[in-house]
């Protein structure tokens, strides 16, 4: 039993190490750069019906890299995470429909502008709102960190509207269509693309965008000068040879169906499920993988914290209490960002999103586990320990042979509960760009704008998995009590 557990632990640590250390494998001759990108920003960045990341940004980047002689590993994630990853040196550059602003210039160095854009504002298709002054007292939905959001903030007091934020575009559009908010501000091409794709919105200023500006590729200020120079070089080449125009036209003139699949496939649950079968499946696999590894490591860590919590040494007990206090008190999302973006920014060492995700799960779920494990041990009658000690057993032997087995039995329901929470919590890791089930849902919705159906499918998948997990746990519990 003990040996088996040890073997599992060692195997997992090895696995953990391999994934944790896996870096971009640079090809021999050309430099390879890790570039982050927005995962949900059509037509600049999105997934096509075959789950490939495409869009103006993606195609331009590829063409530029080829022209200038470098290779890229693209990491799609949420816009803010994409920007932050570069600021914290987790990645070399970011191409995410980023507007060049003075604020951003303080943190990033930008390439030559690669696209002219401006801010559009849109309402629901049949909205009565016609001018900005109609927004008085109403709510405007915005995507966090975008130029559209920045512009809306700047005129918010002038026009007297309120603001609500979301981290992905589709949720913003849904919010407007559903009437929770009345309008949104975003980059003109982005809004036009999603409307072409069937989103029931209407651009109010198609002829005269606000705050016309430029999109740029960015690196961290003062770093990767060579990459930036190469990007500019490549951009000049593809502008000259016509590749640039071809790419822009491909996205802005083509019918949306070219990228998203036929309307028929996108308008029924079954069609969506069929079209995105492999995406859902790989998302589910990633969710299960995170859950299983997370549960095992968090349980081991929690057990250790729990055992430390009933140690005879005061300092060991205090250590356990402190660790539990800190990580139970910290919102999981904050912890994930802190590990993925905060720590590397401070220390300069990169950590993969997957490792940061697992570490987040282990620290957070492990703290909850530690608390109920300690509680479980403490609820074992003190007489059990006294009896064991009176026979001459040491404290640790008494713990192992008498207290821990009895405590564990009391904890089984708490463990099952924690397993289910862990499964659900993996969805939060979509925020640092891990492509698990929830993130998969977000990507599909960006492409096909079928929020209701896609989220219904995702919810069903979670329910099925949770049901299976519950059955399995109950089976284990029965066997333990037999």
């Amino acid at each position: 039993m003990k040996k088996g557990l040890l073997t599992v632990l060692v195997a997992l640590s090895a696995l953990f190490a391999v994934f944790g250390l896996s870096k971009n494998t640079a090809s021999a001759s050309e430099p390879n750069y890790t570039i982050t990108s927005d995962a949900t920003y059509a037509p600049f960045d999105f997934q096509d019906k075959n789950n490939q990341y495409i869009g103006i940004d993606q195609d331009l980047l590829k063409a530029i890299a080829k022209a200038a002689g470098f290779t890229v590993t693209v990491k799609p994630m949420a816009f803010n995470a994409a920007m932050q990853s570069v600021a914290s040196s987790q990645a070399d550059g970011v191409i995410a429909g980023t507007t060049i602003t003075n604020d951003r210039k303080a943190v990033y160095d930008f390439s030559d502008p690669y696209y002219k854009t401006g801010i559009a504002w849109a309402t629901a298709k049949n909205s009565k709102i016609k001018s900005l002054s109609d927004l008085k007292g109403k709510t405007v939905a915005l995507k966090t960190g975008t130029a559209g959001a920045e512009y809306a903030e700047s005129i918010k007091n002038q026009y007297g509207f309120k603001i609500t934020y979301f981290s992905d575009s589709d949720t913003v559009y849904r919010d407007v269509i559903n009437g929770n908010s009345v309008a949104t501000f975003a980059d003109m091409p982005v809004l036009q693309y999603t409307i072409k794709n069937g989103t029931a919105l209407k651009v109010q200023n198609p002829k005269d965008p606000f705050a016309a500006g430029d999109l740029g590729f960015a690196v961290k200020k003062g770093q990767n000068a060579e990459l930036l120079a190469d990007f500019n070089k490549g951009l000049a080449i593809i502008k000259k040879n016509g590749t640039y125009d071809k790419i822009i036209n491909k996205y802005l003139d083509a019918k949306a169906e070219t990228f998203t699949g036929s309307a028929k496939d996108n308008s029924t649950v079954w069609g969506i499920l069929k079209t995105n079968r492999s995406a859902f499946w790989s998302g589910l696999k990633q969710t299960m993988y995170l859950t299983v590894v997370g549960i095992i490591l968090a349980s081991l860590w929690g057990l250790l914290l729990g055992v430390m919590g009933v140690s005879t040494h005061l300092w060991v007990r205090s250590l356990s209490t402190t660790v539990i206090y800190i990580f139970r008190g910290m919102p999981m999302l904050v912890l994930a960002f802190f590990l993925y973006i905060g720590i590397p920014a401070l220390t300069g060492t990169k950590i993969s999103a997957w490792s940061a995700g697992i570490l987040t799960l282990v620290l957070n779920e492990g703290a909850y586990t530690g608390a109920f494990v300690r509680g479980g041990f403490e609820s074992v009658d003190a007489g059990q320990m006294e009896a064991a000690r009176s026979l001459g057993m040491s404290h640790s032997r008494a713990m192992r042979k008498v207290i821990i087995p009895q405590g564990l039995r009391l904890m089984v329901p708490s463990f099952i509960n924690q397993f289910i929470i862990t499964l659900k919590d993996t969805s939060l890791l979509s925020a640092i760009g891990i492509l698990e089930l929830t993130q998969t849902g977000t990507l599909i919705v960006t492409r096909n704008s079928q929020g209701f159906r896609v989220w219904a499918i995702v919810a069903m998948i979670y329910l099925v998995v949770i049901t299976l997990l519950t059955w399995f746990s109950n089976w284990v519990e029965k066997r333990m009590n037999a």
Binding site: D381, G383, A387, G392, M393, K401
Partner: protein, 249 residues
């Protein structure tokens, strides 16, 4: 006491306080080899605290405790080794809930390397025979009655081959009809020459088995002597009051 006897337990001037509550005050007591000492006294007088000090389940604030020639308050003493020779029986049995009756008895001897598993099981079966529960070896402890549990607890303590046994009110948690069986086992144990220190409210049993009776009151030994001295000619006034209460209860 004409023949020279070995001192098994030597206690000198121990004190113990819980906060302001001075529970044991300068207690000294020697227990001889093969002796049965019964401790009586009102509840809260410090009997349990004193008994639990003999195997260091409680630590005194000051004083000397020697068991089998080991100074158990010396940090260099391996208390686990000393405890192997001191069996303890608790008021609430404290049988290990995660083991069967047999496993309860064999756990410590096997774990502590005193016996092989086979030897321990052999011994456990003998002990179950002696305490009158030969057919309960493989049942879960939760299926036993209180009296049966306490007899298993005695067998568990005896499995380590201790040469001192401590009993803290072993029959107080039992239904009256169960008390006799447990006392019977203890009487037989006393006859084998086991050194025993017993806290009990069973005065009849004390009269029968004790070589010496010790009366505790307010954290002090107020009087000690043979059962006849204590029960028929008590000198201490508080002892007289105590006896008049328990005898008429």
């Amino acid at each position: 006491m004409s023949e020279e006897k070995k001192v098994k337990v030597h206690v000198d001037k121990v004190n113990k306080s819980y906060g302001d509550n001075h529970v044991l005050r300068d207690i000294s007591l020697d227990v001889m080899d093969n002796e049965v000492v019964v401790m009586i006294g009102p509840s809260g007088s410090g009997k349990s605290t004193f008994l639990r000090m003999l195997n260091l389940l409680e630590k005194p604030d000051s004083g000397v405790i020697d068991v089998d020639g080991h100074d158990i308050l010396d940090p260099k003493t391996n208390i686990n080794k000393v405890r192997e020779n001191i069996g303890m029986v608790f008021q609430n049995f404290n049988l290990f809930n995660n083991y069967t009756v047999l496993e309860n008895i064999t756990l410590a001897p096997v774990q502590l390397g005193k016996m092989t598993k086979a030897e321990a099981e052999e011994k456990a079966k003998e002990l179950l025979e002696t305490v009158g529960l030969p057919d309960k070896a493989n049942v879960s402890v939760n299926s036993l009655s209180g009296g049966q549990k306490q007899r298993v607890a005695i067998a568990r303590a005896l499995a380590m081959n201790p040469d001192i046994m401590l009993f803290d009110e072993p029959t107080s948690a039992l239904d009256p009809e169960m008390v006799g069986d447990v006392l019977e086992v203890m009487k037989r144990l006393a006859k084998t020459g086991m050194t025993m220190v017993i806290v009990t409210h069973e005065m009849g049993f004390a009269k029968q088995v004790a070589n010496r009776v010790v009366f505790f009151e307010s954290g002090k030994i107020q009087e000690s002597g043979t059962p006849e001295q204590i029960f028929t000619a008590p000198k201490n006034e508080r002892l007289q009051t105590f006896l008049s209460k328990v005898m008429h209860a």
